[in-house]
């Protein structure tokens, strides 16, 4: 909302500059900024000319000493009319004049000038002017020029929090400043006609209307608004209609109460009914558009049809126009929630609905009606004929007991009782001290103050948050480590993959259904009210997101894409923490040192699988055959990850049919982290003493049936290594499939075996004997033979 600085001053007496008003308001919870100063300059202040001397280096210039009441400045001036004793405008260093002319520190003919004394022309006030602008001698010095000139006004933009509808007016803002500065706010005086006849034609038929005041004014002359009124409305950004409507708008920005005026003669009956609309009713509002109403929407109606959408907008047919002579003026209190719902449903909001939604003051409704009626008869003439004030509820001001001791208990510092009293009283709260307790009666416009702590907030707010004490940080709280096995695993995955050159991705949790279906994935959570297709469903896998990232990066020319992500997926069993990684392209970039031996290894099933094997945090995680068919993995290039015997993850190459337009294979890994949550025993690796004697290595090549799973062979070797003998380590360094050399249906493997004894250097015989034992075991258990 826009606030006129000058109009504000009519409600409360203060000497703050517009900028200070804005920062004062911000400091008490109403964000405010100066949007227009009403002038084309900044930093021009009123100063007194103390003395005028001739410039030592130029005949036509003079050297003036001026004062703003705090500091003295030495100014070089070329005007003939300058004389000591004058009050003049001084553009200080840093000031900006019209035409973006910035005043800088300068030397004029060898003498420093600390600013510029301005003419009216230089200030853009007049087209032509002679000499400096001499102000009235009574003008106070040290003030911004715009604040002392007639007709200059600054406009402030204020933004309120949802609970402070009472601040959507000049009066409301003035009350806040008054409370902060401890100044009494003057409310416009209204002339109340006590002996008006009762109108007796309004009927409230819905409990969504709390209070309804209506008055008929006859004999009005509709025309243009006077200049002062037009000016104020222009500053607040309100469109001018005619004097009657303009006055209702003016009273709204002045006091905060939306009013509605309509031509009563255009109604089909003299009866005015406030009721809920029926489901098939329609109304053409003042914006010229037709709105379909339904029950739950409050309307003002005659006996036949709606005249206005209560609190939102009037109807077009009953609007005040040039021929109108008799008007009906309405000031009412409607249910805030109902107005909000109506406004949202119709997608129609107005300055009026904006205020109704935030709640209005019971007493203000009455004040505003009189204020508007006074102004109408004053400006448009006519006579107030009758009035009716219907109360659908018995209104009582809220009473809250405030315990003085509770204030410091919540705030952590003591506020003296008299300061508490002062702050609350200036906010319009009536106080009755009762021993340790102050009984507070809340004014009607502050319907946001409901309980004791709301009062405590008022005290803290007006006192200001910044100046108040800050306690020492509590250091005596025990530091609770978030030490679940799960977060340790996630950290382990992240840091290990990071070390391998992976980047961490973060995708949004939504997908289009088609993006899931592409991978044969189902969705379990559909968004009921998505605003776009992108937000149709919640992801049930991290694959579609990462795959989308992959294709984006390939299209950007990336040769290697290695990404990982951890986050929630939304599966049939609910939301599940999940970790996934995608790998694609070259394992290594080209390197100038490798020009001779071109290395162009691509991420494939075994390389990716090797990475996964290496990031798994403990031996409780095992890699096994993927026995459950998967919708998106290559059927022959996939494996599963077991945790304590249960499948918790899978990895493999993404189905070729899904990646046909991508050059290389795509490796994907996804693991459900939920089963490992809350197992708080991260396996600690204990140090094992290692042998100080050298290892003896043996390379052994064997042949096996191709149908024999490699894991079986590995298991035999592993068991030997685990048995505590001299075989300590082993690795597969070659797999060989040339059946012409090995025999049909055969495959060859080469192992490197490493033997060690903790107490002595091994002899060749000891090692050879052990290799022999292993080979015999492989042969007898699996038919795997030493390659000849």
């Amino acid at each position: 909302m826009k606030i006129s600085y000058n109009l504000l001053k009519e409600f409360v007496d203060f000497e703050l500059s517009p900028k200070d008003v804005a920062s004062t308001l911000t400091s008490i919870g109403i964000e405010a900024s100066v949007v227009s100063q009403g002038c084309g300059w900044t930093d021009v202040v009123t100063v007194k000319v103390l003395n005028v001397q001739k410039h030592p280096g130029a005949d036509k210039l003079s050297l003036c000493g001026v004062s703003d009441g705090i500091k003295e400045y030495s100014i070089v001036c070329g005007a003939k009319n300058i004389a000591s004793g004058q009050t003049v405008p001084l553009a200080k260093i840093g000031a900006v004049l019209p035409g973006n002319f910035e005043i800088k520190k300068s030397k004029i003919r060898g003498v420093d000038s600390q600013g510029m004394i301005c003419s009216e022309k230089e200030l853009g006030i007049k087209e032509e002017s002679e000499g400096v602008f001499v102000l009235d001698e009574k003008t106070k010095i040290g003030l911004p020029l715009e604040n002392v000139l007639e007709g200059m006004d600054s406009v402030l933009e204020i933004e309120i929090t949802t609970n402070r509808g009472d601040c959507l007016s000049h009066l409301g803002i003035a009350r806040e400043i008054g409370a902060k500065l401890r100044k009494v706010v003057s409310v416009p005086q209204v002339k109340v006609l006590k002996k008006l006849p009762v109108l007796n034609c309004v009927e409230i038929k819905s409990n969504l209307c709390k209070r309804y005041i209506g008055s008929v004014i006859s004999g009005v002359k509709v025309g243009a608004s006077p200049k002062w009124l037009a000016d104020v409305l222009a500053k607040s950004g309100t469109r001018l209609i005619n004097n009657i409507v303009d006055i209702t708008n003016f009273v709204m920005i002045e006091l905060g109460q939306p009013l509605h005026a309509f031509d009563i003669t255009k109604l089909s009956s003299k009866k005015i009914i406030i009721r809920e609309a029926s489901d098939l009713e329609k109304i053409t509002a003042l914006d010229g558009k037709e709105y379909k109403l339904d029950s739950g929407m409050l309307v003002i109606a005659d006996e036949q049809k709606p005249v206005a959408i209560a609190g939102v907008m009037g109807g077009e047919f009953s609007g005040v126009d040039g021929n109108t002579e008799t008007i009906f003026l309405e000031s009412a209190i409607f249910d805030a929630a109902s107005i909000r719902k109506t406004s949202k449903k119709l997608n129609l909001s107005s300055d009026s609905s904006y205020r109704f939604e935030r709640g209005l003051g019971w007493d203000i409704a009455e004040l505003a009606l009189w204020r508007a009626a006074n102004l109408i008869t004053e400006i448009a003439g006519g006579k107030q004929e009758a009035l009716e004030d219907l109360h659908a509820i018995k209104y009582e001001r809220t009473k809250i007991a405030l315990r003085v001791e509770r204030v410091s208990k919540i705030l952590g510092y003591t506020v003296e009782e008299n300061e508490i009293g002062e702050i609350l009283r200036f906010l319009g709260i009536d106080l009755q001290p009762r021993g340790e307790v102050i009984l507070c009666t809340i004014p009607s416009w502050r319907n946001d103050i409901k309980i004791e702590v709301d009062l405590i907030e008022e005290i803290a707010r007006i006192k200001g948050y910044d100046g108040t004490p800050t306690s020492k940080t509590h250091a005596d709280y025990a530091y609770t480590l978030n030490n679940s096995f799960l977060s340790a695993i996630i950290e382990e995955f992240r840091t290990r993959l990071n070390g391998l050159g992976f980047s961490e991705a973060l995708n949004c949790s939504f997908l289009e259904i088609a993006e899931l279906e592409k991978f044969g994935l189902k969705h379990y959570y559909k968004i009921a009210n998505p605003i776009s297709k992108e937000n149709e469903v919640l992801r049930s896998s991290l694959l579609p997101g990462l795959f989308k990232n992959l294709t984006l990066n390939i299209s950007q020319g990336a040769e290697t894409v290695t990404l990982f992500e951890h986050g929630k997926i939304f599966a049939e069993s609910g939301e599940r923490k999940t970790f996934a990684a995608i790998m694609y392209g070259r394992v290594w970039h080209e390197w100038w040192k490798w020009t001779e031996q071109k290395i162009s290894l691509k991420f494939d099933f075994y390389f990716g699988g090797g990475i996964i094997k290496n990031i798994l945090p403990s031996e409780e995680f095992m890699i096994a055959e993927n026995l459950t068919p998967s919708s998106y993995f290559h059927t022959g290039k996939t494996a599963s990850i077991l945790f304590r015997g249960k499948v918790i993850g899978r990895f493999g190459i993404v189905k070729p049919s899904l990646t046909s337009d991508i050059k290389d294979e795509v490796f994907y890994f996804e693991m459900d982290l939920e089963p490992v949550e809350n197992i708080c025993v991260k396996k600690t690796s204990f140090y094992k003493a290692y042998s100080k004697f050298p290892a003896v290595k043996r390379d052994v090549s064997v042949t096996a049936d191709k149908s024999l799973q490699f894991a079986k062979i590995e298991e035999v070797i592993k068991n030997v290594a685990k048995s505590g003998g001299i075989l300590k380590e082993y690795s597969l360094f070659s797999a060989y499939g040339d059946e012409t050399k090995l025999g049909e249906g055969k495959i060859g493997y080469s192992f490197r075996l490493s033997y060690k004894n903790d107490e002595k250097t091994l002899s060749d015989k000891e090692v050879n004997d052990d290799v022999e034992v292993l080979l015999n075991k492989l042969d007898s258990d699996l038919g795997v033979k030493l390659r000849q």
Partner: protein, 339 residues
């Protein structure tokens, strides 16, 4: 027969200037089978016992002196040779910029969350997590947001089809979960993903992150809140940063405050990033509303508390100079690799 002392001097003199080949010759000349000293020792058989003893020990001593000297000279020559070779091996270090293996990166949002966690852990906070699918009770009612409140507008919240559930619009439901499971004292932060049903642009996205904080105990005050929040800002953004607390409104806190930090780019003068205000909003906070404590059956006379909430994207974008939130969710490696 030469004097042994002279023999030593002579040999040492030769060693001084010898190269590797000459050293071998010197060794043979003095210590070899027919070497000078060997000859002396051999010749001793015809001498008296006293002579044998005296000359024998002198000769043996001379042998070892020369031997040690030769070995040490050899060692020196080897070193000198390697040093000389090293001097010729100068590589162009600028080429080491190229490597076939690129470094990994952590997502800036996750980094910010972890940095926030570290600061709050140092202030004695535990870290908790909560579900992303919530009920209206946890997301709204328990937090003193009644049905008629504007925040309940369906257009801001994602509701799930066919069930009475929604995606949490803030991390504040975490407060309720923690309080339901634990008794005071509570001192916890809850980082996580949240969702808002709004059109995306440079500063809005349907998915984003918040970190919620909650402290409940006896005698917790607004001054304590100010202390922790100020401490956090100083530890996270720097000790010299200006900040201000200004009154605000949240349904679940009373009194409520918003905390602004001086714009680090323009130092408070006003620039594009702070929309010429000189301030940047960092977090919202306040004293836990009694209705929130009541909703988890806490005695709101005995216990008081404070809560705060931070927008992770906002802080990250501000700290890293990222001008479009959508960049954070595209996962373009040209973006990710910068962090």
């Amino acid at each position: 027969m030469k004097d042994i002392g002279r023999i030593i001097n002579e040999a040492l003199e030769k060693i001084k200037n010898a190269d590797v080949a000459a050293l071998e010759n010197i060794k043979t000349e003095y210590l070899g089978k027919n070497g000078v000293l060997t000859q002396i020792l051999k010749s001793l058989s015809s001498r008296s016992i006293e002579d044998k003893k005296r000359i024998g020990s002198e000769a043996n001593n001379a042998k070892s002196v020369i031997e040690v000297e030769i070995e040490s000279k050899k060692e020196n020559l080897k070193k000198a040779l390697l040093d000389e070779k090293m001097r010729e091996e100068k590589l162009d270090c600028s080429k080491s910029l190229y490597f076939p293996f690129s470094k990994g990166s952590f997502h800036p949002i996750i980094q910010t969350i972890q940095d926030i966690n570290v600061v709050f852990k140092s202030l004695g906070f535990a870290v908790a997590e909560g579900p992303e699918i919530e009920t209206e009770w946890y997301n709204f009612e328990a937090l003193n947001i009644p049905e008629s409140h504007p925040a309940r507008d369906t257009q801001d919240t994602f509701y799930l089809e066919g069930m009475k559930a929604l995606l949490r619009t803030h991390t504040s439901p975490g407060q309720i979960h923690v309080m339901e499971k634990h008794k005071p004292p509570i001192r916890v932060i809850v980082p996580g993903k949240v969702y808002r049903n709004e059109a995306s642009d440079a500063t809005h996205f349907s998915t984003f992150h918040q970190v919620e904080g909650l402290v409940v105990d006896e005698n917790v005050t607004f001054a304590d809140l100010k202390a922790v929040v100020s401490d956090f800002i100083r530890k996270f953004f720097g000790s010299d940063i200006g900040m201000r607390f200004r009154p605000s409104h949240f349904q679940f806190t009373e009194p409520s405050a918003e905390v602004d930090m001086q714009c680090v780019f323009c130092k408070g003068k006003g620039c594009r990033l702070c929309k010429s205000s000189g301030w940047i909003e960092v977090l919202g906070c306040g004293m836990v509303h009694p209705n929130v404590l009541k909703s988890v059956r806490y005695d709101c006379e005995k216990y008081t508390g404070y809560a705060f909430g931070l927008g992770v994207e906002r802080i990250t974008m501000f700290k890293r100079g990222i001008d479009d939130i959508r960049l954070l969710y595209e996962n373009d490696l040209r973006f990710l690799k910068q962090f």
